[in-house]
Symmetry: C2
Subunit: 376 residues, 2 copies
């Protein structure tokens, strides 16, 4: 069953050959785009949708989110806004609430969060474990996440659980826990942040990532969030698909990123919600680094699921143009997931389309906070 | 026809006696709240709505918006984000587009914008003229605005039209234009900003405001947006209901506000969208000044209609607690409009209620960008 989409005010394809089109139409069939071109020469289709002049962009790709959790840390947020400092320690309260929740409770929360994202234009979301921190709880989180997305990430190395022996925990993560989780995961990730007593140093991170790679998983790293550290260089060295946060970068980090094929994923909602300085996206772009934007949606440091807000923050705070920010939220984030079937609107790509209640993509930054984006 | 509302997770009344309640219910009848109290002792009603644990707050009061306009300045926005400076000059392009639009075009745009606000939890909006700048175009803007809100504001003194003689224009605004507009307006306002060549100085502003007062209108002032200036002191001196922006305040301005009964209305969406320093709400609150929050929704300096984003920015950027920010977006903004029937949930008040898809009001700042608020 094919559908012709017309009345597209602006079509941002992110395809190098097609570019950004006005007066364009497209046809999709069984979830795949089969034609893009001038509306006047559109082929026949079984069905037709007219968008009345609205802009169409690739569905947002949220390549970093922690959606398998129970409980709420709004009180911690309010305390932080009143001056308390974040060091990753609050994760323990989410771990307790998540372990206590039933499968069905977590399933309902996940479904609600994915629907909330879709209603804001996100069509692909990566989901991490990391609030279980036992073999059974991590495996359960990934099995539940795999019900709603193929982009599942094993993050047993999120924090060292309260009271655990560090070395024993790293061994567990890289051994028995990985073995239980790998069948449900596409990726392995580590919170590499020596500045936090709860997170992992470079050697610990390397142990977990190399074990994950040996188990067939792709690599991702949380790095350089709270301070400059070894995360970025480690990620590039191991060929990780993405290193996320990149808030504090040295020139050596920048050189490593520019010379490798690891995407720098920026999460400006975290800086917004922790009142921290923003990463310097302009510096990364000017050095030729591929930059992605994602929400990091999680109950502690950024409980936003809004990719449009991330785009607006990237423009306001990080020196990106509206076009660069949109690229990073679509094609760039697809690259951060090593996906070649999403993030771009072109024949053969998935028909993941987001409609803006606006005539152009500029409105994503021009109309901050206004819910103008939705998945078609 | 009375309606009982139950299943309220948290009820923020903004009423000094009632406070913030859990386990509460309320009854409204023909648009007025007639009972608030513990759910267990709720009276019978004709109808019943269960909110499933969602929080309820007073409908947001957006006390500063410029909604009667045509056209789009997204390209100007993108240029400004790339480094160009704002001095109020871009208003001319909106004036041209607005004059060229038909009544029905403007009516449709207004209806769409008010609906967009309502869908985000705003139940009262003030609407200014100011994109007509001729007797007929200003009168038309106010007549159209009066179709959708009682809070209409004559802002002929928005800018001096391109090519006009300043003195002659001020005389027109305070004379013939005011006479034509006053029947459709509740308020008169002036963009008092000597730092901008397009706006008005203290003497010009006083002339317009005193004429408006003589015509029976209440007073509002745009003041101290681009630099410290005479706007705040003038507003307090004339007993204006509100002085809006207050981005650059001297200690004399602070003293004047603390000693008067003029509300300081902060518009952080403007600072967000013009990449300017934010006003210091904490300093105002600590001095005992009543602070309101509004969007300033307009095509030039802030095309956001999102009161939740203003709350989130007030918490992130201006030192307000989530509770203070919510007060300023409801009861404080009602005070800025000298309204005693809105902004508070209590018997006798209008049943303007906003429901949050969240268990508490903290989520307005904790979940930035996520559309969790809607008018009931």
């Amino acid at each position: 069953m094919s559908t012709l989409v017309t009345g597209i005010g602006e079509l941002v394809t992110q395809d190098l050959a097609l570019g950004t089109l006005t007066g364009a139409a497209l046809v999709h069939d069984r979830g795949v785009i089969c034609w893009v071109g001038p509306a006047a020469s559109a082929p026949a289709a079984d069905d037709r949708v007219d968008l009345g002049g609205r802009a169409v962009v690739p569905g947002f790709v949220d390549s970093h989110a922690h959606l398998v959790f129970a409980g709420d840390r709004s009180a911690e947020f309010a305390a932080r806004m009143a001056g308390e400092r974040y060091d990753g320690g609050g994760i323990a309260s989410t771990v307790a609430a998540t372990r206590a929740a039933s499968d069905d409770d977590l399933r309902a929360l996940l479904a609600r969060r994915v629907a909330e994202m879709r209603a804001q234009g996100t069509t692909t979301v990566e989901i991490k474990s990391g609030y279980g921190l036992t073999v059974d709880d991590e495996r359960r989180a990934l099995a539940l996440a795999a019900e709603v997305t193929p982009e599942t990430t094993f993050l047993g190395a999120h924090v060292v659980p309260a009271g655990a022996d560090r070395d024993a925990y790293v061994k567990l993560v890289a051994g028995e826990m990985l073995a239980a989780c790998a069948p449900h995961a596409r990726w392995v990730d580590v919170f590499c942040e020596p500045a936090s007593p709860h997170a992992f140093d470079a050697d610990e991170a390397r142990t977990v990532l190399e074990a994950g790679r040996a188990a067939g998983l792709g690599l991702r790293v949380h790095g350089n969030q709270l301070a400059a550290g070894p995360g970025v260089v480690l990620a590039v060295d191991l060929g990780a698909a993405s290193v996320d946060h990149c808030t504090h970068l040295t020139s050596a980090d920048l050189d490593a990123l520019a010379g490798g094929d690891t995407v720098a994923t920026l999460l400006p909602g975290v800086e917004f919600s922790t009142r921290s300085p923003y990463p310097d996206a302009r510096r990364l772009l000017d050095a030729g680094v591929s930059v992605a934007l994602a929400t990091d949606c999680n109950p502690g440091t950024c409980f936003s699921s809004s990719m449009p807000l991330m785009i607006a923050l990237a423009v306001r705070e990080m020196g990106m143009t509206p076009g660069e920010a949109l690229w990073s939220a679509t094609a760039g984030a697809a690259q951060a997931l090593r996906r070649t079937d999403i993030g771009v609107i072109a024949p053969g790509m998935r028909a993941d389309l987001t409609v803006l209640d606006a005539p152009s993509h500029l409105h994503l930054a021009y109309r901050p906070g206004v819910p103008i984006a939705r998945a078609l």
